[in-house]
Symmetry: C6
Subunit: 79 residues, 6 copies
C-alpha cells in the first residue's frame, strides 16, 4: 500500500476542533467514493442524483458518522 510519490492527502487524523474533525470525516467519506470511482464526470453526474434524494442523503450522513467515530476516537473526543 506504499503510495510514495502520489499526493499526501491524509497526513494525520488529529484536528484542533470537533468541527474540523467533522470536516475530515466528510473528506474521508468522499475519498472512499473517489477511491472506487475517480472519473470526475461520473462523480458529478451521480452527485446531481444522490444530492436530490432523501434516502441517499441519509445514507451519506451515515457514512460520515462511521468516519467521524474514528476521527473522534483518534482525537480523544477533543477533551
Amino acid at each position: 500500500e506504499k503510495n510514495t510519490g502520489s499526493d499526501v492527502w491524509l497526513p494525520t487524523l488529529v484536528t484542533e476542533t470537533p468541527q474540523e474533525g467533522f470536516a475530515l470525516a466528510i473528506k474521508l467519506a468522499r475519498m472512499g467514493v473517489k477511491s472506487t470511482q475517480s472519473d470526475k464526470e461520473v462523480l458529478f453526474r451521480e452527485r446531481e442524483k444522490y444530492s436530490q434524494d432523501a434516502d441517499s442523503l441519509i445514507h451519506a450522513s451515515e457514512v460520515i458518522a462511521a468516519y467521524f467515530q474514528t476521527v473522534a476516537a483518534a482525537n480523544n473526543y477533543w477533551k
Copy 2:
C-alpha cells in the same frame, strides 16, 4: 479543513445530560445531510418524502444512533 471565519456550530461534543447528547447526535446527523446538500428547498422537499416513509424514518434513527455512540463515548456515558 480549517474553516476559520465560517460559523462555529460544533464547539464541543461535551453535553451536560444524555438527553442533550441525543439532541447533539440529531444535530450531527442533520449536519451530515446539510454538508452534502445545502439547498434548503431541496431539503424541505425531501423531508416531506422521507418523514412520511417508515424505512427512511428507521434509517434516520440508525444514523442518529451512530452519532450518539460517539457523543456518549465523548461524555464517558455521563457517569
Copy 3:
C-alpha cells in the same frame, strides 16, 4: 441543545439489568424516529406498514443493536 422545560425522557443511560438496557435501546430507537417525525397519525400509519415487512423488521432490530451497543458500554456490560 438545552431543552429546559421540555420533558426529561432520558435522565440516564444506567439501568439495573441487561433486559432494562435492551428496553432503553428500544426507547432510544423510537425516539430517533419521533425526533424526525412527531405526527402520531403518520407514525401509526407507517407502523402498520413496517411491522408487517421482514426487511423493515430486520432493519428495526439493527437500529436497536446500535443503541444497545452504547447502553451496554454505558453500564460496563452489567458486570
Copy 4:
C-alpha cells in the same frame, strides 16, 4: 423500563464460550424483531419470505454481527 413481572429473558450478557455468545447475539437479534412485532403469525409469514432471500439473509447476519460485537466485548472476548 422496569419490566417487573414480565419474563426475564436477558439475565446477563456473560456466556461461557464464544459459540454461546454467538447464540445469544442471534437471540438478541430476534428479540429486536419481536419487540417491534409480537404477532407470531406475521413473524412466521415474514420468515418464509426473508429466509428465502439472499439480501435479507445477509442483512440478518449483519444484525447478529452488531449484537455479537456487544456480547463479545461484554465477555472480554472470552480470553
Copy 5:
C-alpha cells in the same frame, strides 16, 4: 443458549494472524446466514444470485467488516 452436544464450530476468537482473523470473520458472517437459513438448497440457490450482484457483494463485505472488528479487537489487533 447451551448448545451441548451440537458441534463446536467456534471454540475461540483467537487466531495467529490477521489473515486467519479475516477468514474467521468470513466464517462468522456465513454462520450468521446459516443460523437463519440452514437449508443447503436455498443457500446454494441464493448464492448464485447474490454472488452475481454488486450491491449484494458490497453488503457481504460490510458484514465481514462488522465481524472482523470483533475478531481484531479479540486479538488485540495481532500486535
Copy 6:
C-alpha cells in the same frame, strides 16, 4: 482457517501512516468481495455497474469506513 500455502496478503494491520491505513481498508473491503466472488469476469462486469451508481458508491465508502475503524484502532490512530 489455517490457510497455509495460500498467498499471504494480510501479514499485519500496522501501517506507517493514516493514508496507508486507508489504502489497507480499501484492500480489506475488496478482499471481502473477492472472498465471496473470486470470478474476475463477474467482478469486472459488476464493477462497471456499481462504479456508475451513486448509492453503490456511497455503500462502498461505508464498507471502507468499517474496515478503517479497525485499521485505525490497530495503529492507535497513528498518534
